[in-house]
Symmetry: C2
Subunit: 388 residues, 2 copies
């Protein structure tokens, strides 16, 4: 069954080896003043920074660097928005992974708003437009290069928010898999876990269709198979190209058009973890996943475990006991790609569990109204404790 949906992704994907040569042509459509945004300098190590500076020799390039993982409203978004205003920026060029792109999306809307930017990010005020955004992706993970969302942390108030607006779809995303050859095993594993979790959030829904189940399972299969190759051979182009494309599809919505999913509960939980302890998003999601699955396992969800078991792990599921084998298989998979499956190993302090559970319920109403299980505070505490 395909339920009612609206779908529109205007972003142009330019994918493959060497595609960046078209960057100047793309940027000049928007103007001459470019804000180049990036993170901790990995783009300098791989030579991408120099390549871009050479390509942009005829543009006025301003820079915002040092954008953090779990990008921060203060200083990064505020600094970027100020740079845009001061320099009449025509287009933002984000070069990096999901954090850099998310931060740049927030900059793009906040720069055109005179008031306090957080009012936009937190949904209090609606954006009326954004500076055009183009990106060059260097990490296969969040899918931000192909969606209209951004996740921003406000450390002053321990908050991490998902923000969405049609204005922040990138205009063009350049995806060259070679830029991910140097991504560490840890980041490769966490990026893949992030994308798998994105699909699982969409997969647990009550009106399955052959199309949607098939699309989602295909992309999970690709992620699982190719991450193993990429971990062993970091410069395997085939594996890196599938991972990169799979991650873009995973968060974009195209895999679940017409699904009845009512929320992204694992993300709500993880956002609290990252807000309190600044952990790597994909790792947090991987650790939570099996314990969230245990919590929502019921007769209503059994069919979902049946499909996952059959298609991904060759496990036939007839009973809830069988489904626990599927949950165990996910645990083993994430562990097998190198993610410690304990939050305490990432520095999470179990004394904060109750506070985080309260925070989750206060910040995302969908968690308490999830279609399968109304995750109350006790349920959240159980999931977090089991994940420690």
């Amino acid at each position: 069954m395909i339920n009612n949906f609206t779908y529109n992704t205007p972003t142009k994907l330019v994918f493959g080896s060497g595609v960046i040569k078209d960057l100047p042509n793309v940027l000049k459509e928007y103007g001459n003043n470019v804000l180049l945004t990036y993170g901790g300098g990995s783009i300098k190590k791989i030579g991408l920074y120099d390549e871009i500076k050479t390509l942009l020799k005829d543009f006025n390039v301003y820079e915002l660097n040092g954008i953090e993982p779990n990008p921060k409203y203060d200083p990064s978004v505020l600094d970027g928005a100020r740079l845009c205003r001061e320099n009449n920026i025509d287009v933002i060029l984000a070069v990096g992974g999901g954090s850099v792109i998310d931060c740049s999306k927030a900059i793009a809307v906040c720069a055109l708003y005179d008031g306090e930017g957080w009012d936009i990010i937190s949904g209090k005020v609606k954006a009326k437009g954004a500076i055009p955004l183009v990106d060059v992706l260097t990490l296969a993970a969040t899918g931000s290069e192909y969606d209209s969302g951004a996740v921003i942390s406000n450390t002053a108030i321990n908050d991490k928010r998902g923000y969405g607006s049609k204005y922040i779809f990138p205009k063009v995303s350049f995806l060259d898999p070679r830029y991910t050859f140097s991504v560490s095993k840890w980041q490769t594993a966490c990026g893949t876990a992030d994308a798998i979790n994105h699909i699982l959030e969409q997969f647990f829904q009550e009106t399955p269709s052959i199309i949607n189940d098939g699309l989602m399972i295909s992309v999970i299969k690709s992620l699982m198979a190719n991450v193993s190759v990429a971990l062993n051979e970091p410069d395997n182009y085939e594996a890196r190209s599938e991972l990169m494309y799979a991650c873009s599809l995973a968060c974009n919505g195209i895999l679940s058009n017409g699904c009845s999913s009512s929320g992204w509960p694992m993300h709500s939980i993880e956002h609290a973890l990252s807000a309190f302890f600044d952990i790597t998003h994909g790792a947090g999601l991987a650790i939570i996943t099996p314990h969230w699955m245990e919590e929502i396992l019921s007769d209503r969800t059994l069919n979902r475990f049946m499909v996952l078991g059959n298609e991904l792990f060759n496990i036939r599921v007839n009973t809830k006991e069988d489904a626990k084998l599927v949950i165990k298989a996910f645990y083993d998979f994430f562990k097998g790609i190198g993610i410690s499956m304990h939050l305490k190993d990432l520095g999470v302090d179990s004394n904060k569990i109750e506070e985080m559970a309260t925070h989750i319920l206060e910040n995302d109403s969908t968690v308490g109204n999830y279609m399968y299980v109304n995750l109350d505070k006790d349920a959240l505490i159980r999931i977090l404790k089991a994940s420690m």
Copy 2:
């Protein structure tokens, strides 16, 4: 392996029961003068014409009706373009199936060109823009509602051309599966065969990936399963909704981004058949499919039959003899949904086979350079003869 690709589909899909109520809001973004285009009157039978006229009571609505299956440059495209110019049309509203939408796309570009419109359709002159197009789909088949292509016949010169331009993506496509409840068994079967063929054209390629194989197989599976339901229960919403969405995905490119396909040879063959004998496109494709497969079956293509056999028909393929069982399974499937598998039953005259083979090679250079088999005149004649 994901090969280099560029992908951009700006069309907004508005899918589901009752979505048409938003039509006035969508149209008024473009202006007040609307050219309503439709076919033989089925939209009047199902009440859709009246529904739309009521919704558009505040617009100036001009009409072009009687658009043919295999839509004709003369009179339909020419008449439509003239109506646009005479009435300062702001937006074209196509209501119907692929023929109506294709014709409207051609009208949209030809209306803005002062010279002979066929020069644009045949690729001699490049379009510089198009009148915005919105559509309401009433037939699950060609996928024209979600792509940038149009196929137009010029009967004066026995030509049928595929035309593509970024300007002719529909702005918004309204897809309400209920409008397909009254589609005949014949059209339901032919529409499904069309979509399956679209995917097969993309599936036969030399650099398979887990993602692309999975996406394509998922949509074929959905089409095969749901067409049987819809043929038995024409008003089964679940089946009609999957068919409608599957057809939109089948031709849009999203299923084969990064594939290495070098042409759509079956379409080139069918276009000649329709140009000479005006047969139903999907039926022609279904009939050709098994015989085209026989022609290209080789060690190089065996892997493709392996995946199709395993995933769709539970046939294990190790040898070319096994692959013939898969070809037979496609033949039986198309026959089983009610398509006579002989071109002569559609009125094709075998005396024209040689002339059609010459026409195909003259009109589509990709047929002669197809990656697997360089389809020369003899090969085309073999395929057409076997299809009679």
